[in-house]
């Protein structure tokens, strides 16, 4: 574990604690910001992490992991997919899962996320999932068919992640959601119906964000 993260772990957990009262959270934040000053973390920067090697998912609470995920600066290591997999599968809270899906899309970016608006400008069919930038969400969606043999939840997981991508609302997320429901297997139908209901409610004529789904048949 990064030495700085190890030293600041107590404070990091305190500021991320969802049950902490405001005063406690503020005091932990004040102490953490002093540490950030001592190590010259710089404006807009958090606890530096040089490596996630040897870190296990249990080393931090889910909220602390998500705080790290959402504050990854450009140039620093990204949180491993193995950690994000475990967090997602072991915590059913939609607030946790949405933050994970959305945060992983922009982890470590040094500028705006890649735009897929060209797809709607050119009225192109959704890209295959494999042609999207490698993110946790993309890789998880690609691996979903392999879960068919394990249990009956892939359809539910696909629907849930699809809703999270809609909530994220970015060009990347919408294009990824459309790509996820394009293949014609029966088990993707519940997700297609769920996303179609949401999209049609906000964009009945598919002239706004619905354009990403023009070829999907929602």
């Amino acid at each position: 574990m990064s030495r700085d993260l190890l030293l600041a772990r107590r404070l990091f957990e305190a500021v991320a604690d969802p049950n902490a009262d405001r005063q406690s959270a503020e005091e932990a934040g004040s102490e953490l910001v002093e540490i950030l000053g001592r190590i010259n973390a710089g404006p807009g920067r958090g606890v530096p992490v040089t490596s996630f090697e040897d870190m296990r998912v249990g080393d931090l609470s889910p909220h602390a992991w998500l705080l790290l995920l959402e504050s990854r600066p450009p140039g620093e290591p990204q949180i491993p997919s193995s950690v994000l997999d475990s967090l997602f599968l072991n915590h059913a809270d939609p607030a946790i899962r949405f933050r994970l899906v959305s945060g992983a899309l922009t982890q470590g970016l040094d500028g705006p996320a890649k735009s897929f608006e060209w797809l709607v400008r050119e009225r192109a069919a959704p890209l295959p999932l494999s042609e999207f930038p490698p993110t946790w969400a993309r890789d998880f969606l690609i691996g979903l068919p392999d879960r068919l043999a394990e249990d009956g939840t892939p359809a539910a997981l696909l629907t849930e992640i699809g809703l999270y991508l809609l909530q994220d609302g970015s060009s990347h997320a919408l294009a990824l959601a459309a790509a996820a429901i394009t293949p014609g297997e029966d088990w993707r139908q519940p997700c297609r119906r769920a996303l179609g209901t949401v999209i049609r409610s906000v964009d009945p004529d598919l002239v706004g964000p619905g354009r990403y789904f023009e070829h999907v048949g929602i």
């Binding site: 500021v15 959270a25 005091e27 934040g29 004040s30 807009g44 958090g46 959402e70 939609p94």
Partner: protein, 257 residues
């Protein structure tokens, strides 16, 4: 994250933001007062941490201000401060008042949550979000609220929320007149950051030192003073001008209990 899908309320919300932004932060947060009373902001903290800011002899570095991720804060991730126009409004959070200057806020997008219509639009907007139903059923309601406000601020690129105090005190905090600020911190990718050093504060310095200390009341809504108010308290309340003068001179301003 762009903050979700468009809603039929977006145009109305945007017009409220544009109108508040056009008025400017001082007009929204400190109406009728000198602009300097909004350009200087206060954050009160415990003595344990306040003493680490210059010009304290114990200042060990130049600490900044924290961008809080805690769901205990009203308007999502951000740095929570108060204009010096309301000198003691947030003193209930600590004995040490750290004064900072704001950068140029002319380009800031402002959400005036003290405007009942705007606030009502926010409430309606949340109900239209794809995740609203799921979030209202979660056991972690505080995180659900926090997440919705983060989505809202992201969707409308809100740089600062102006809101009335949500913790009260008869002598220090006036919900009717005081205004608090939640200032956003943006990543290069355009997402809201938290858990980091804020980039916007200019020259934070320990300026106000209270004799009083507070603790949370049993209800959790109010914060209760432990010493006063003493008979001298009303006449010794600091003025915004006095705070600004002390800050400018790198001096301290002492406030009795």
């Amino acid at each position: 994250m762009s903050g979700g899908l468009p809603t039929p309320l977006d145009a109305q919300i945007e017009s409220h933001i544009v109108a508040a932004s056009a008025r400017g932060l001082a007009a929204v947060a400190t109406p009728g007062r000198d602009a300097s009373e909004c350009n200087h902001v206060l954050k009160y903290t415990a003595a344990q941490y306040g003493g680490r800011y210059p010009p304290s002899p114990n200042a060990v570095a130049s600490p900044g201000l924290f961008v809080s991720p805690s769901p205990g804060f009203t308007w999502g991730p951000g740095t929570y401060v108060c204009p010096v126009a309301y000198p003691l409004s947030t003193a209930i959070y600590g004995r040490c008042g750290i004064v900072s200057r704001l950068p140029d806020t002319h380009a800031w997008r402002i959400f005036d949550a003290t405007d009942n219509v705007a606030a009502g639009l926010y409430v309606q907007w949340t109900a239209l979000q794809p995740l609203f139903a799921m979030l209202t059923l979660t056991a972690h309601a505080n995180w659900a609220n926090h997440l919705l406000r983060k989505l809202f601020k992201t969707r409308f690129r809100i740089d600062v929320v102006v809101f009335p105090p949500d913790e009260l005190h008869n002598h220090y905090t006036n919900r009717a007149s005081d205004r608090w600020l939640a200032v956003s911190e943006w990543s290069p990718a355009g997402t809201l950051l938290s858990g980091v050093n804020a980039s916007w504060p200019i020259a934070p310095r320990l300026t106000v030192i209270l004799a009083e200390e507070f603790q949370t009341s049993t209800s959790g809504i109010r914060r209760k003073e432990l010493i006063g108010p003493t008979p001298t308290f009303p006449v010794n309340k600091p003025t915004p001008a006095a705070i600004i003068a002390a800050y400018t001179a790198s001096d301290y301003l002492w406030v009795p209990a």
